[in-house]
Symmetry: C2
Subunit: 691 residues, 2 copies
């Protein structure tokens, strides 16, 4: 199939893998390894000099081009910090109203309208809008989600799916918060599979109206923010039927409440108490032949003429659906950002706690040991800190891409699809990271972390739904994988998972397999590294090109594996659904590997661009820790695929521990640079006197 010579087996590795049972002491255990030997003297013999972190400069770096709006949001957060206690002391109804009032107040400062067109009263800066939302996530998350519902989902749908007439009619009042609305897509029976929703909108040519109907009880709209109390209108997603023909899912502006009462034909139910986010009034909506004018259709991508003729600039219904959904990408970009911000709050509290809490004697005559001086405590918190930095920079890059697409600076199909894929993947990584980080930080604060007077109670309960709303994380990673597989064949990804299985198993698989043959992967990876065929044996563990090459190899190998598995299953005559089910964990693994590579690339690019100096040295510690933690966590895979010798695998674990010790004295600076306002930490007993 190819004239390439297979890369030879690195000789050093064959001698050592697997380590034969032996009476000799294991070098890792006995400290014979060179990395291990250097540990005790890292601040002397190996030339490492602990860098000084310039905290204000580092915060400026993190705040980036949106420092101004972030500053505005921080001031608003501090001014309204009492919402954090209101959340605990008020009744649910009062808390909801308080959150609504606060959202309207914040809207008046301009922070929530940054993404809307200037002509309607917005800021005309989508990137700033995401940065504002990201910063707002340091505070009460009901406020955040209410902002997201009103300005991101509801306002965003009108902006992105509607046309001039909708913009003129609604946007000015949406931006001020005068008109509160809902984004009514999800139904009780259908969340992830939006194409199968049961709400129907039938065009009545006699009256020139659409008739909106909930066809079954479990086709009721569910979990809809602003529905239970405050929303006056809703953007309702429904199956459009024109002249007896189904045209797929479209969106309509439908009044749901008049003078505080449900509009005629609309039934509303409160979703009741939730795990968290109880300042947001989620509810259910059922429509019983609710009539709206023809103009209620958000008609950017499709319209119905008065005479009942369906018209769309996008012929393929699947593609039309995914194009519509694609315009709503800001929501996912924002939720991922919020997850990362919530992680910053949790880490700030936990690191500061670990720097003042002492427990157990370090020696006989001194005071007890600080928690952060325990190796295990460093191992628990510091890789999460490094990952938070990594995700921050990946998110920054994503926000930049979103800004470019939404402002039309870049507007090709390929970039839009890349943006959607990256938004999906970053949302999954960012929100899972939040769940994991908040939990670890809570446990690291012991019983004190369990009291509501610190942030963990709210952070845990409020962020929990992030992993499944705005797209279930597993479904989102499948979307990413679909993009990776179909990209190879330059085909559109407007297909469901069955389609994907069939498609990949058919035309595309030869291309995928050809493009991802192991030796070709190696060849491409080799371009990154000067080391020749033994690139992965000789390169330094702290060489970012080595780290990137490892993650890129894993990603491409996994994508190739998925394609082959799909093809094999189909070739064996298995049902495509069964094939997909069996390959699903590989599909998700490949998407995850892809995302980790993108995250590392973003981090490496950002640190490389820095001028030489302490700041660069300090950030490189975090970048190395992130990269090696990722490789360490999946070192079994790398060993299984010949990319890691046993010795090197152990060396990576030692290097991770060594990096943790180097980062330990800088940890306080690193969390300070997040710029979480002190008032948002609340837990004075946990974090000490921060003044």
């Amino acid at each position: 199939m190819s004239t390439e010579t297979p890369a030879p087996v690195p000789p050093a590795e064959t001698q050592e893998v697997p380590a034969p049972p032996s009476t000799e002491p294991d070098p890792a255990v006995e400290g014979g390894g060179s990395t291990e030997g250097a540990e005790g003297t890292e601040s002397r013999a190996d030339g490492y000099v602990q860098p000084e972190v310039d905290v204000p400069a580092l915060q400026r770096l993190l705040d980036g081009r949106y420092a101004e709006v972030r500053g505005l949001v921080r001031r608003n957060l501090v001014e309204h910090a009492d919402i954090l206690t209101d959340a605990e002391t008020m009744s649910r109804d009062d808390y909801r109203d308080r959150v609504r009032d606060l959202v309207v107040e914040m809207a008046a400062t301009g922070q929530t309208g940054m993404g809307f067109p200037v002509e309607h009263g917005g800021g005309g800066d989508p990137g700033a809008s995401v940065a504002a939302f990201e910063t707002l996530a340091f505070g009460d998350l009901s406020v955040l989600v209410k902002v997201g519902v009103q300005f991101g989902l509801f306002g965003g749908a009108i902006q992105q799916l509607g046309t001039r007439r909708h913009h003129d009619e609604y946007l000015p009042r949406v931006i001020t918060g005068e008109l509160l609305g809902c984004f009514a897509m999800t139904e009780t029976a259908h969340g992830s599979n939006v194409q199968a929703i049961g709400t129907v909108a039938t065009y009545d040519v006699e009256t020139g109206e659409f008739v909106i109907t909930t066809t079954t009880e479990d086709a009721g709209k569910d979990y809809i923010g602003n529905a239970a109390a405050h929303g006056e209108v809703a953007v309702v997603f429904a199956q459009l039927e024109v002249g007896g023909e189904g045209r797929g899912v479209h969106a309509f502006v439908v009044p749901i409440r008049v003078a505080g009462q449900p509009a005629p034909g609309v039934r509303i139910e409160d979703d009741g108490l939730k795990m968290g986010l109880n300042g947001v009034d989620n509810g259910r909506l059922w429509f019983d032949h609710v009539r709206v004018p023809r103009e209620a259709l958000l008609n950017r991508f499709a319209d119905v003429t008065p005479a009942g003729v369906y018209e769309s600039s996008i012929e393929n219904p699947n593609r039309r659906f995914f194009t519509m959904l694609g315009t709503l990408v800001t929501g996912r970009v924002s939720v991922g950002a919020a997850g990362i911000s919530a992680s910053k709050v949790a880490l700030t509290v936990a690191v500061k706690y670990a720097l003042q809490r002492r427990q157990f004697d370090a020696s006989d005559d001194e005071q007890e040991e600080l928690l952060l001086d325990y190796g295990m405590h460093q191992r628990r918190l510091l890789p999460l800190l490094a990952r938070t930095y990594a995700l921050h920079f990946a998110q920054e890059e994503l926000t930049g891409q979103l800004h470019d697409v939404l402002t039309g600076r870049v507007d090709d199909e390929q970039t839009r699809r890349e943006l959607e894929s990256r938004a999906a993947g970053t949302k999954a990584l960012g929100t899972w990271h939040a769940t994991r980080t908040i939990q670890e930080c809570r446990e690291a604060c012991g019983g004190a972390g369990y009291l509501a007077e610190n942030r963990f109670t709210a952070l845990k309960a409020d962020t929990d739904v992030f992993t499944t709303f705005e797209g279930d994380n597993h479904v989102l990673l499948q979307l990413v994988a679909k993009g990776l597989l179909t990209d190879y064949a330059s085909e559109f990804e407007d297909m469901d998972q069955l389609g994907m299985a069939r498609f990949v198993a058919g035309l595309a698989v030869e291309t995928v397999v050809e493009k991802t043959r192991v030796h070709q992967l190696l060849e491409r990876v080799r371009d990154l590294l000067p080391g020749g065929d033994e690139w992965d044996q000789e390169a330094g563990l702290l060489d970012p090109d080595y780290q990137l090459a490892m993650l890129r190899f894993r990603e491409e190998h996994m994508i190739s594996g998925v394609a082959r598995r799909l093809k094999r299953g189909i070739d064996q005559g298995m049902h495509p659904g069964a094939v997909f089910s069996r390959v699903q964990d590989h599909v998700i693994g490949a998407a995850d590997a892809h995302m980790e590579r993108l995250v590392l690339e973003a981090f490496v690019a950002r640190t490389r661009a820095l001028p030489d100096g302490d700041q660069k040295v300090a950030l490189n510690l975090l970048c190395d820790l992130y990269a090696l933690s990722v490789i360490e966590a999946d070192r079994a895979w790398f060993m299984e695929h010949g990319r890691l010798s046993v010795q090197r695998s152990k060396a990576i674990s030692r290097e991770v521990a060594s990096l943790c010790r180097k980062i330990r004295p800088l940890a306080d600076d690193f969390v300070d640079a997040f710029g979480v306002p002190t008032e948002m930490l609340r837990a004075t007993a946990l974090v000490g006197d921060l003044g």
Copy 2:
């Protein structure tokens, strides 16, 4: 050092590890592996016949010897099921009172007093007491923890640390719930390190009283259940001072509330809102020269004569302290059990949801696919199900040991220490399992899982503190490791972590290293298996002896590694505290490996004892899935230590997936056998009509 021949390198492995970069398709990807090849035909070609599960019989097996008391608790849970909604609708004060009333009502049925002596109104059956507590954990967890505080901690301390006079005076009223009390050990500044608490009890020989004093503000007792509202007395742990001499931590019965008001000299503060368990009135206590009679000292292990002479049957103060604490082991045994029960509730909801929720098309003409038919969903839930079974049987064994020790059937030092170690480790594993399982199950139920009307909201918030109360899990695993290291030298483990580092590095290390040399490990492991030196290459993956040998090898190798690392650090002149810090993650890893081995042994023993038949076949599937999931999760370690070839590692992952598919049709039966009362699932919309 030894005449043993090192075990030869298995020839099959050297050829294949590491997998050389190659143009050949990876066998795992292409399905060339034998296990993979069998996947498509597992229910035909490999002779596997799906077993039928007899659910009532399986529940009887799980309920074990305590079926009767479990039945009583289940009936009580169902009768008072409305507490689950009261928890959401009542004010905090009302909810606390409601929980108190319920606890007293349940006490009247006898379920909470099973562990107390018959002569004082108890059941005289400590094992039944744990089983009752375990079953109670299916319901509202504030009720559970209030029961734990009153009968386990407070009552248990009086029973275990007191003598006849205390038993006669307090136990009858404790058992009925007439006298509610506190277990006042933890202080704001000291949780894990109890030996360093700051409360002082000075003997005043003039009056024959102890004077209890909180020496600093942060030496106040904190997080104390029953303190904020309901408790009348407290067992207070304080540094005893007699005649100017410190005697270490002892316990005293101290009145804290008289006619609903704080007793003179006692200051009480409410801990306020917590993440969960808000039906329990946790609070803080400060003592300002509070005088109690000499008889208030719980004097089973030490006493002070009226003339002020200190007397104790245990000379070594450290050993005395650990002996006192050791008698309180029931608390840890109970919390671990509760964590496992909470996991059962979460899994029951999530599995039933996955068996009725459909999303996305499986094929063009059928209905959408059930969630549990997705490979990823099986991978998420079914290993957790298998682990829950495994932990159940390990917990059952532990409860049996506790029963034997507390009833005096077995009463040697060694057994007591084993019990304490096992209780600590099982508590850590069981409670972390709960956190992880509940989170995964919540996410697996999507948005529906976020509504409070199902159990996840309460389960998450209420169980969260389980990982850090009754001993922080990391500290508990250190305790386990300490036992493992010092056991080798037959010394007592009454030393802190510094002592451990010094001790192990000194006398003991030669013994440890000698006993755990790799070839000797292999020799011992070899006894388990007939396969000779290639036991780990030739044995079937589903052979329990293979699985046990793998876990035993890992455990012993890790313990040995810890000992060597400690010794090396000390030999290099490092401070013992620094040495410990660096080795800490290995210490915890070794303890974890030890516990996983014990859990698997318990599961294997239980399944082996079953008569041949479907039930045994079914349980073996779970046991295999548990064992292989554990090995898979740490397969990097096994590869790094020469116990797993690349091929075999991949085969284990395939086998895990295959086992998931085999368990899939039995999943509903497996959760039904947990016997969680339907009323405790609440989430009718999630789990469908269970009637």
